[in-house]
C-alpha cells in the first residue's frame, strides 16, 4: 500500500505524475513521502471544503487536502481506488487526494516549456512549467506544480498566516 519513492536515488528532474479529472500533473518526486489509500478522516469544523480533515499517519496528525475539490476537477469519489499522496513540504507533512497516481517520469529541460499567462482556479504562480511527454503522435501535457508553494500558500489555509508571511 505504501511505496517509498524517496528511497530510490532519484534525480531532481524526476516527477511523480497524477491525474485530476482529465488533467495530468507532475510534482517533484523529492517532495513525496509516500502514497496511500484514503482512510476515514476526522473533520475539522470551519475548514474549507477541500480540507477533508486530519488523519493519523503513524502517530502524526496530517491534514488531508482534496485537490479535486480545490481545483474543481474530476469526480469526487472516495473508494478503495482513491489515492492520497503524502507530501513533505516546508517541514510539514500534508496529504493530497488525487484521482490516480500514474507514473514517475524523468523530464529533461527541453521537455519543459513555460506556462502561458492565463486565468484559472490554479494560480499561475504555482505552475513551474508545462511538460510534454509521450510519443510524437500521442503527446501528453503535464502541468508541473510547485507543490511546496501551493501547499503552503495562504489560499490552501494549511499554514497559519503569520507563518506564511514569515516564509
Amino acid at each position: 500500500m505504501m511505496e517509498q519513492f524517496t528511497e530510490a536515488a532519484v534525480k531532481p528532474s524526476e516527477y511523480l505524475t497524477f491525474r485530476l479529472g482529465e488533467e495530468e500533473y507532475g510534482i517533484d518526486i523529492l517532495k513525496v513521502q509516500e502514497i496511500r489509500g484514503y482512510d476515514a478522516v476526522t473533520r475539522i469544523a470551519g475548514a474549507p471544503d477541500f480540507l477533508k480533515g486530519v488523519i493519523n499517519l503513524r502517530g502524526v496528525i496530517v491534514p488531508i487536502v482534496d485537490l479535486r475539490l480545490k481545483f474543481q476537477l474530476g469526480e469526487v469519489r472516495y473508494d478503495e481506488f482513491t489515492v492520497v499522496v503524502i507530501l513533505n513540504v516546508a517541514g510539514r507533512i500534508v496529504g493530497a487526494v488525487v484521482d490516480s497516481v500514474s507514473d514517475v517520469l524523468e523530464l529533461t529541460a527541453e521537455q519543459i516549456r513555460p506556462a502561458p499567462e492565463f486565468n484559472s482556479l490554479l494560480d499561475a504562480n504555482f505552475i513551474t512549467g508545462l511538460g510534454t511527454v509521450g510519443t510524437e503522435e500521442r503527446a501528453r501535457m503535464l502541468i508541473l506544480l510547485d507543490i511546496e508553494k501551493l501547499m503552503t500558500s495562504a489560499e490552501m489555509g494549511i499554514v497559519a498566516e503569520e507563518e506564511t508571511l514569515a516564509a
Binding site: 476526522t42 486530519v54 503513524r58 502524526v60 497559519a160
Partner: protein, 710 residues
C-alpha cells in the same frame, strides 16, 4: 468507539500482572523512600513525621504483599512494623543499630520482591534478621560486637560501628584483573582505611571485572582517590553493599583466590580484629558481606558456567536501579513501528469484518486479540516517553535548602501538579531554565528575613512551583512572594546597557527588558545568580522548545514567571464524547458533571441565547454539534429522538453547559499538536489518536468558555 472506555478489562492473568507491576513499583519507591528517610533521620531527635513515614512504608508493603500472597515479605514487614510501631510510639528510642537493621531489612525486602518479580531466584535468608528485629522490638540493645563463639555456624548480626559503611566495589573492565589486587595492598598499608575482601573468589571472570566488599569509614571520594593510584577512576564503581546473599553457605577456603597471599581475607577487622588469616575466615561470622556471586558459585558446582553469571546478575539487579537507558531515537523508532502496526491491524480488522463468524471463528478471534494487544502495545510504547514533572521538581527542595543556607534567607518551597506528565525530551530540556528561574526567585526575588519582617510579611518567603495543562499547553509557573521587580532600577540598568527605553513604557514592556542579554539588576553579584547571564538564556532555551515565557510582577508582592510549553506528547485524562457521529475529547479536569437533558430544562434568553440553571447558577448552553458544525443525529428508526446530555465544563472559574449526544468513556490520551502540520483551529487545543487509530480533536474548554460567555 465505545471500546475506549473498557481498556482495563481483559484476561485475568494480564490484569493481575498489571497490579503486580504497580505493587512492585510502589514498593520499590517506598523502600527507596524509607532508605533516604533512615539515612537522614536525626537519631537523637527523630521527627514523628519521619518515624510515621517509615512505619507507613512497612505497613503499605505488608498490606500489598499480603494481598498478593507474598508471605515471606509479609512476615518480614510484619516484624518491621512491630518494631517501628513501638519506635513511633516512643516506647523505644531509635538508635544506630536499629537504623542499620532497618536498612538491612529494606535490602532484604527488596531482594524478596526481586524474587517475586522473577529477576532472581535467590531466596533471601531472613530468620536471623527477623530474630534481630524481634530482639530490638523487645527493647533489647544489640551489641556492636556479637560474640562469634555464641553461634559459630549461624550468621551473626553484622552491625557496623557508627560511621562505618559496607560497600560493594566493582573494578573493571581491566586488561589484567590482577591489577585490582593492588587495591587490597592499599588497605594493608593504610590500616585506618578499613578492610577489603574479594567477593568473586579472585577468579578473573569473563567480564574482566573484580568485585570487593569494603568496610570503611572513608567517603567514596576518598576511596576513589586512593584507588586511582592503581586503576582508572572510571573503572571503579562503588555502591552500598547489599547483604542479600544467603548467609548459610559460607564459601570454603577453596573459593579464596589462588594468589591469595593474605589480603583476600573475608574478615572484617574492624569488628573482629583478632582474626586475620584467610583459612580462619570461613567459620567467622562475616558471611553476610560476601556477595551472592561468591556464595552461589560453590553452591552450584555442577554447572558453574550457568550458576555464576545468574548469581552475579541478581546481585547487580539489587545494586543497580531497575532502569535501562535507551536513546530517544530508538523509542521514537519503536513508536513509529507500532504506529505502522496499528494501521496494519486496522486494515486486517477491516478485511475480516464481513467474514462468516461461525466459519472463521479462529481467525476472527485472533484478529480481536491482535487488536487488543496492538492497542496495549501502543499505549505501553507511548508511555515510555512520558515522565511526571516530579522528575524535575524533586531536585528543587534540596536546591532551595542549600540556597536558603547560602543566602541566609528563610525559604519555603511549594510544589503543585508534580504528577503532570510531560514528554521526556521536554522534561530534560526544561530542567536548566527552571533551575535558573528558581535560583533567581530565591536570590533576587525573595528578600532577607529582616527586610520581609520590616515590610510586614512573614519572615519565610515562599516559592511556588506548579505545573498544569492549560489551553493546549503545559504551563509551568515559578512564583515567589518577594519584593517584585523594581521598575526604576530596570530602566536605569537598561539605560546603562544602552537598551532602547522610553519613559512611557508599560510595565510589561519594562519587564521584557530583563530577558535581554547581559541584564541583571541584582544589587550584589552573588555566586548564586546575578552575573547577568541567565534570563536571556532561559528565554532562548524555552523558545527552542517552541515555548514562551512571560513574567508578571508587582512591587512588594512578588514575581511570577510562566513558562508555556507546547504539547508534543503530553498525556492527559480525557473524557471522550460523541457529537453527532464524531468523537471529541474533553479534558477531564475541566468536566464538572453531566446529566441528561430534561424537557424544559433549557431556557432561552433573547433570540438565540440559551441558559440552563444548575444548582442555583445560570450558565450558557452550547450545542457542540453547532459549534463544530457537526451534522445532527437524526431520529433513529423507531422515531425516538436521540437523548441529549449536558456536560458542565469549567475553565478559569467560568462554567458552561455543553450539549453532547453521548459520553463514550474516560481514558488517558496522548495529546498531539495539530499545528505541527496544520494550523490552529478555533476551540481545539490538539488532537489525539483513539484506540482504533482514528484522530479525535481535543476541545479547548477555556477558549470555548471565553468565547461563549462574551
Amino acid at each position: 468507539m465505545g471500546e475506549v472506555s473498557n481498556q482495563g478489562i481483559q484476561g485475568g492473568e494480564f490484569d493481575l500482572t498489571q497490579f503486580y507491576a504497580v505493587f512492585f513499583e510502589e514498593a520499590g519507591e517506598n523502600l527507596a523512600n524509607m532508605e533516604s528517610l533512615l539515612i537522614d533521620i536525626d537519631l537523637d531527635a527523630p521527627s514523628d513525621e519521619d518515624l510515621n513515614a517509615v512505619f507507613r512504608v512497612a505497613h503499605s508493603i505488608k498490606g500489598g504483599a499480603a494481598t498478593f500472597g507474598f508471605s515471606d515479605v509479609t512476615n518480614l514487614t510484619h516484624e518491621l512494623e512491630t518494631l517501628l510501631d513501638r519506635v513511633r510510639r516512643h516506647e523505644l528510642a531509635l538508635n544506630s543499630s536499629m537504623v542499620d537493621v532497618l536498612l538491612e531489612a529494606g535490602d532484604v525486602v527488596r531482594a524478596q520482591l526481586a524474587r517475586h518479580q522473577g529477576s532472581t531466584t535467590d531466596i533471601p535468608e531472613t530468620s536471623d534478621l527477623v530474630g534481630r528485629i524481634k530482639l530490638l522490638a523487645s527493647g533489647a540493645v544489640l551489641e556492636a560486637k556479637p560474640k562469634a563463639s555464641a553461634a559459630p555456624a549461624a550468621p551473626v548480626a553484622e552491625d557496623l560501628p557508627a560511621g562505618t559503611r559496607r560497600l560493594a566495589v566493582r573494578v573493571g573492565p581491566l586488561d589484567d584483573p590482577k591489577v585490582a589486587d593492588n587495591l587490597a595492598e592499599l588497605f594493608r598499608d593504610i590500616p585506618s582505611l578499613g578492610t577489603i575482601a574479594a567477593t568473586d573468589g579472585g577468579a578473573p571472570d569473563a567480564g574482566r571485572f573484580r568485585r570487593f566488599v569494603v568496610t570503611t569509614t572513608s567517603p567514596d571520594s576518598e576511596l576513589i582517590e586512593l584507588f586511582s593510584f592503581h586503576v582508572a577512576r572510571e573503572q571503579v564503581l562503588i555502591e552500598p553493599h547489599v547483604a542479600a546473599a544467603p548467609a548459610a553457605p559460607v564459601p570454603p577456603p577453596a573459593a579464596a583466590p589462588a594468589e591469595d597471599d593474605g589480603f583476600g581475607f573475608f574478615v572484617d577487622i574492624a569488628t573482629i580484629p583478632s582474626v586475620g588469616a584467610a583459612p580462619a575466615a570461613a567459620p567467622a561470622p562475616s558471611a553476610p558481606p560476601v556477595s551472592a556471586a561468591a556464595a552461589a558459585a560453590p553452591a552450584a558446582p555442577p554447572k558453574p558456567a550457568e550458576g555464576k553469571p545468574r548469581a552475579e546478575k541478581s546481585g547487580a539487579a539489587n545494586l543497580d536501579s531497575n532502569t535501562l537507558r535507551v536513546s530517544v531515537e530508538r523509542v521514537d523508532q519503536l513508536i513509529n513501528l507500532v504506529g505502522e502496526l496499528v494501521i496494519t491491524q486496522a486494515m486486517l480488522t477491516q478485511q475480516v469484518k464481513d467474514l462468516d463468524a461461525a466459519q472463521f471463528r479462529g481467525l476472527l478471534g485472533g484478529v480481536t486479540d491482535l487488536e487488543r494487544n496492538t492497542r496495549h502495545l501502543q499505549e505501553a510504547v507511548m508511555s515510555i516517553r512520558m515522565i511526571p514533572m516530579s522528575f524535575v521538581f524533586n531536585r528543587f527542595p534540596r536546591l532551595i535548602r542549600d540556597l536558603a543556607a547560602k543566602l541566609d534567607k528563610k525559604i519555603e518551597l511549594k510544589m503543585v501538579g508534580e504528577a503532570t506528565e510531560l514528554d521526556k525530551g521536554l522534561i530534560e530540556k526544561i530542567i536548566d531554565p527552571l533551575t535558573h528561574l528558581v535560583r533567581n526567585s530565591a536570590d533576587h526575588g525573595l528578600e532577607t528575613a529582616e527586610k520581609r519582617a520590616a515590610a510586614g510579611k512573614s519572615e519565610t518567603g515562599t516559592i511556588t512551583l506548579s505545573a498544569s495543562h492549560q489551553g493546549g499547553s503545559i504551563l509551568i509557573e515559578v512564583r515567589d512572594d518577594g519584593a517584585g521587580l523594581n521598575r526604576g532600577r530596570i530602566l536605569k540598568k537598561a539605560v546603562e546597557r544602552g537598551l532602547p527605553v522610553r519613559d512611557d513604557m508599560t510595565d510589561s514592556e519594562v519587564w521584557a527588558l530583563i530577558w535581554e542579554a547581559g541584564f541583571s539588576t541584582a544589587d550584589v553579584v552573588s555566586d548564586v545568580s546575578g552575573r547577568g547571564v541567565g534570563m536571556d538564556v532561559v528565554r532562548r532555551n524555552i523558545a527552542a522548545l517552541g515555548g514562551t515565557v512571560e513574567l508578571e510582577s508587582a512591587e512588594g508582592q512578588g514575581t511570577r514567571v510562566c513558562v508555556r510549553l507546547p504539547l508534543t506528547l503530553a498525556i492527559m485524562d480525557g473524557m471522550s464524547i460523541g457529537v453527532g457521529g464524531e468523537t471529541y475529547i474533553l479534558p477531564l479536569a475541566s468536566v464538572i458533571e453531566s446529566f441528561q437533558v430534561e424537557p424544559g430544562m433549557i431556557q432561552t434568553v433573547g433570540s438565540n441565547g440559551r441558559v440552563v440553571k444548575v444548582r442555583d447558577e445560570y450558565m450558557p448552553v452550547v450545542a457542540l454539534a453547532d459549534e463544530f458544525n457537526v451534522p445532527r443525529l437524526h431520529a433513529d428508526e423507531e422515531g425516538k429522538a436521540p437523548t441529549e446530555i449536558l456536560v458542565i465544563v469549567e475553565a478559569e472559574g467560568k462554567r458552561l453547559a455543553a450539549i453532547v449526544d453521548e459520553l463514550l468513556g474516560q481514558h488517558q490520551v496522548v495529546v498531539k499538536n495539530l499545528e505541527s502540520n496544520y494550523r490552529r483551529v478555533r476551540d481545539i487545543s490538539g488532537a489525539t489518536i483513539l484506540g482504533d487509530g482514528h484522530v479525535a480533536l481535543i476541545i479547548d474548554v477555556s477558549s470555548l468558555v471565553k468565547r461563549t460567555r462574551h
